[in-house]
Symmetry: C2
Subunit: 441 residues, 2 copies
Amino acid sequence: MNDRTATDSKPEHRQPDNNFGHPLNLPLEDLQVAREPHRHERWLVAKLLRMSGSPPIRFRLWNGEIIELQEGQADFTLYLTDPKALLTLVSNPNLAFGDLYSAGRLQLLDGELPDLAETLYRHVHRAMQNWPRWLETLWKNHAPRSTDIDDAKENIHHHYDLGNEFYKLWLDQAEMQYTCAYYETADATLEQAQLAKLEHVCRKLRLKPGMTVVEAGSGWGGLARYMARNYGVKVHAYNISREQISHAREEARRQQLDHLITYVEDDYRNISGEYDAFVSVGMLEHVGKENYQTLSDLIKRCLKPEGLALLHSIGRNRPMLMNAWIEKRIFPGAYPPSIGEFMSLCEANDFSVMDVENLRLHYAQTLIHWKERFDQNEDRVTEMYGEHFTRAWRMYLSGSIGAFRAGSLQLFQVVFSHGDNNNIPRSRRDLYTSHATPEEV
Amino acid sequence: MNDRTATDSKPEHRQPDNNFGHPLNLPLEDLQVAREPHRHERWLVAKLLRMSGSPPIRFRLWNGEIIELQEGQADFTLYLTDPKALLTLVSNPNLAFGDLYSAGRLQLLDGELPDLAETLYRHVHRAMQNWPRWLETLWKNHAPRSTDIDDAKENIHHHYDLGNEFYKLWLDQAEMQYTCAYYETADATLEQAQLAKLEHVCRKLRLKPGMTVVEAGSGWGGLARYMARNYGVKVHAYNISREQISHAREEARRQQLDHLITYVEDDYRNISGEYDAFVSVGMLEHVGKENYQTLSDLIKRCLKPEGLALLHSIGRNRPMLMNAWIEKRIFPGAYPPSIGEFMSLCEANDFSVMDVENLRLHYAQTLIHWKERFDQNEDRVTEMYGEHFTRAWRMYLSGSIGAFRAGSLQLFQVVFSHGDNNNIPRSRRDLYTSHATPEEV
């Protein structure tokens, strides 16, 4: 019985899937690191920079040679360790940037990774308006993996079942929230901001004691416990991540909330019953556009006539595929909807959209807090999963900071009700009568 | 020189356009009011009721005969004065209901008109899911009239140039706001709620002294004056209604605000310059879907990099044509966008939607207040424009109350910014730190 099998049967900190050990981790002798760059290779680097909108980046090639568009204008230095890395990068930068960075074959020598990511998002976003068709085709992100009921399990397992121990290293200590926090003040701690997020969501749902709530995609169960503990509501919380459900149940028992909460290990598509509120924080990104009608129908069915629904999800300003590397290596099946696609889910059943709030910069701040803790625990992460994994996650967290800062990603909280429900909040003043942030955590 | 020409050159209370004197105002001898109903006519009434979802309505026919689906279950009695009225109603109820009511050939004997409208909207909305295709085709609303730059002038003239005297009879005395007010408390007066709306809009735009604002569709200029007076901003306000502009300029001079405000009598499509804020309250309904790209491009062009834009418009939960009668008789060219279509305007230029608020029930309350004043001034309105007009407007105001109450219409306030702007509000708490409603008006 090898390590891998043992891990599979009782996943404590499960080894990440094979695609982290992908073919870019080549033996050193294959890399031709000693030779001079060819002329066409220098040309390719310059071309890559120009096609990316001429960001303030210079490349250092494997032989030490520097290539930059304007001398002395660069804020960042990227080091390519070998000729093959260059070819891989140029042929599909969306995917290869993360892969090469994870493999250690693309290194950042000057500058901070989140800043580099933000710069790249901003420059590429502008530049791509002028890309020739062939380049668009070459560099395009592919459609996300299937999110069918069976594949969804795989997708979620890939990411969320990496092991609770791993997530405990860098998520908040209050409720292990792996979604955007809500920073009422700039100096709030991660714990404060995550609890404020939970409070903000509860207020938006206008929860009252005795109400019933169904939650789709409940993570480690923190929102369900917060609602039960602070609002005296009964919660049915659905999740297909076994690791998360197991933690959630244990915590509910420990906090003596298990009489109010039922954690159901099942797909959101199997939700049954009728509830006063429907809530889903951070699941829609994994649902896939092709399932919006199903999700909409489900909410139609299970939301009582006067109930409120809240969906909290990463989104976009316009339809756009997920970055190839994130979708392939980090979040299989992920697709953040554009605000219009998000609304199509509401339109599908004549729901009345009451409130949309965009918390984009709150997610950037959340990620900064996560990354600080991740950085502090890098040695432990490497011990658990190896160097490649650590670099991949550093890239993922940094890239996400950049994406939210550059406006490439948004965070939408949407509140809606049945179209014919008149028992709706008249104003949002009640959300702000007191601070959502707890003073001490 | 006849009256009409005189009115055209100096429109004080201009006679409404010809289609208010449409062919339904027949001489009495053509109406066959004396004869017994035919069997097929009784059948048609019952069919009409069933196809409308069996609302609690009974019909009284021209000969006094009552037709109802379930005896004693009706809350409303509708009186059809003649056989032709019945045929007209059945063949196209969306258009004919308002026309016949205006002509006095469909009368409400029991019940209140706004309640009837709400009941009809709710019942028909449910019933139409099951309509056979032929009925859907027969009863469908038609596409709105053109909103090309020339036609837009006609459309706006039709409604907004009826004469400032007319609107003064029933709009608020504070700022003549002909858009949804904001009722922070249920007992606010119309004046308080309209000023609160202006304040709410200004807060959402985070106006500061010295900023520049461009307003598209400025009505009688109240928002522009409010912004200049209370926030010390410079406003360029565009409007194509001559009557409104003339009132707006006069008021600005009277209030000594003309150094801060330029009222421009021109189409929004001709807006030039760059501004810290873009605002449009109650114009988008008249813009027409086919011009959303143009409007979006315009905002892209004239909003400074760190500016905020606010669009306030009647909308829908899903795409749907305007009620035929409203579009034909009241608001030519009107099309309230669905929330998804609204968002398409934002997506078209990669805008970042920051905040959506739905004030649907506030519009119902606004209309109730307008109708109270309108009712009090009916004699004066009839004196000005005749019975037909008075009944048409009573129907329009009542029908709108019903539509907003039934959830057939929504009122969206949408705040957005350029997609790459990070100088965005982090929270909406600042909108609620003090009351938007003035204590005394």
